[in-house]
């Protein structure tokens, strides 16, 4: 899978990494059982600090997306490991709330917001290969 880092983005690099790997799993470009490069290899290829990659992998592990093996390195989990939970639903609400506030302020109503959401769902569906 192609992984891109934008060095001028305000999003920290470890979050960009996490986001892209999650995107890769969601679009099936990373399948359960696939290995990610070792921390050292990925950090070397990207030319970034080892800790940055470590941080992203630790986060992904904590969220249940990957398992860190001693031998095989970082391996993508099967979807059972990251099924939705009450905790996640609460997080999702917390994340969406400020976005919906802003959308309302800018004159986007509930229906229009839903259309934007379903468009994104369709786009991701189209990206799956």
């Amino acid at each position: 899978m192609m992984l891109g880092i934008d060095f001028e983005s305000s999003t920290p690099i470890y979050l960009q990494l996490r986001e892209q790997i999650v995107k890769g799993i969601a679009t099936k470009r990373l399948a359960p059982g696939d290995s990610l490069p070792s921390v050292r290899q990925l950090a070397s290829d990207l030319g970034i600090n080892l800790h940055t990659v470590n941080k992203a992998y630790a986060m992904l592990k904590q969220e249940g997306f990957i398992t860190l093996h001693r031998q095989k390195g970082a391996v993508i989990n099967s979807p059972d490991s990251f099924k939705t939970s009450d905790e996640y639903l609460k997080q999702l609400c917390d994340d969406l709330e400020p976005m919906i506030f802003e959308a309302l302020l800018r004159g986007i109503n509930e229906q229009e917001f839903s259309i934007v959401c379903s468009d994104i769902f369709k786009k991701i569906g189209g990206e799956k290969s």
Partner: protein, 368 residues
Amino acid sequence: MKLFMITLLYTLTYVPVLAFLAMTPYLTRKTESFGISIPENVYGHPEIVRIRKTYRNKVFALGGLLAVFAVLFILFTSNNDATLFMPIGLVGTIVGSFLLYLEGHTKMKALKAVDKPQAVVVDTDFHSKKIAVNPAWFLLYAFVILATLCLGVMFYDKMPLRVPMHIDINGVVDRYADKSYKLIFITPMIQLFLTMLFIFVNYIITIAKQQIDAANPEKSIEQNIRFRLIWSRFLVFMGFLTVASMSFMQCMFVGLITDPWINAGIPIVVGGITSVMAIIISFKTGQGGSRLAAAVGKSGDVVNRDDDKCWKLGVFYYNPDDPALFVEKRFGIGWTNNFAQPVSWILLAAIAIVLPILITLVTNALSS
């Protein structure tokens, strides 16, 4: 005969090296010019084109001048010192071309301005793809080394009492050693050292930093994979030729080959073949595969991350924040070290220590 040998030596070693040095700006990636990173679309900018041409012409002029001096020098010195001018001329050309490079580097630095968003793209599967030759090929080398050793043991009886050790440019043996069992180990030991070096270089090809043009990742990956494979194959081939040709030295030691011309000529021919091949492949691939034809992907509007400040003088990579040990050279073909990593210095030190030890062992074997 002497003049013929000199001409052969020069044409086969000096000319390819000179051509390579002078043409280097045309072999590096189009996103780098004299150690300065640039967007690919300004590669044809008239000023940058002019800097490349100036450098090329000056290097050719310098090299030509030195070559003329070298030939005159060799013609008018009667003895074996003639061979000395070869390394002197080579070093002179390399140092001179580096100074000319610095001239280009300074000009480029003044020209440069960055305005596009910077990005890095990597392929998570890159290092698990086939990017280098299977190291099992080096088993072929082991057979040759074993055969060389066996040859020495089998024909030890035939070894002359005074063993020819070195042949000068006129085809005359100028150094002998007394017959000794130690002599049959010299060649296999050097072969073993070279083999380990080649295995290590092949390993570097597999782990070196993945450098993909962020503006056109698909094309760049395809080029880079082919680039690494081609050079890895060449390494195995060239290394085998070198190691195998050293077996003739063993034949000379045990008296199987007595014609000094064979032993003086073989390294020249092998060196010539490999350097000419290396030049041809360099022109074919370009640095990182940038000259290889590949399917054109979509071109994005980003440039590669600007790490010019990590490239001291544009040629020495020093980046403490980059864990990579081996990165692509900015000016030339192949890879260089990240000198901010202590391991780089340990590796260089290891080679710097092992080499003198090997030489001492060889000389000890000769003197006793």
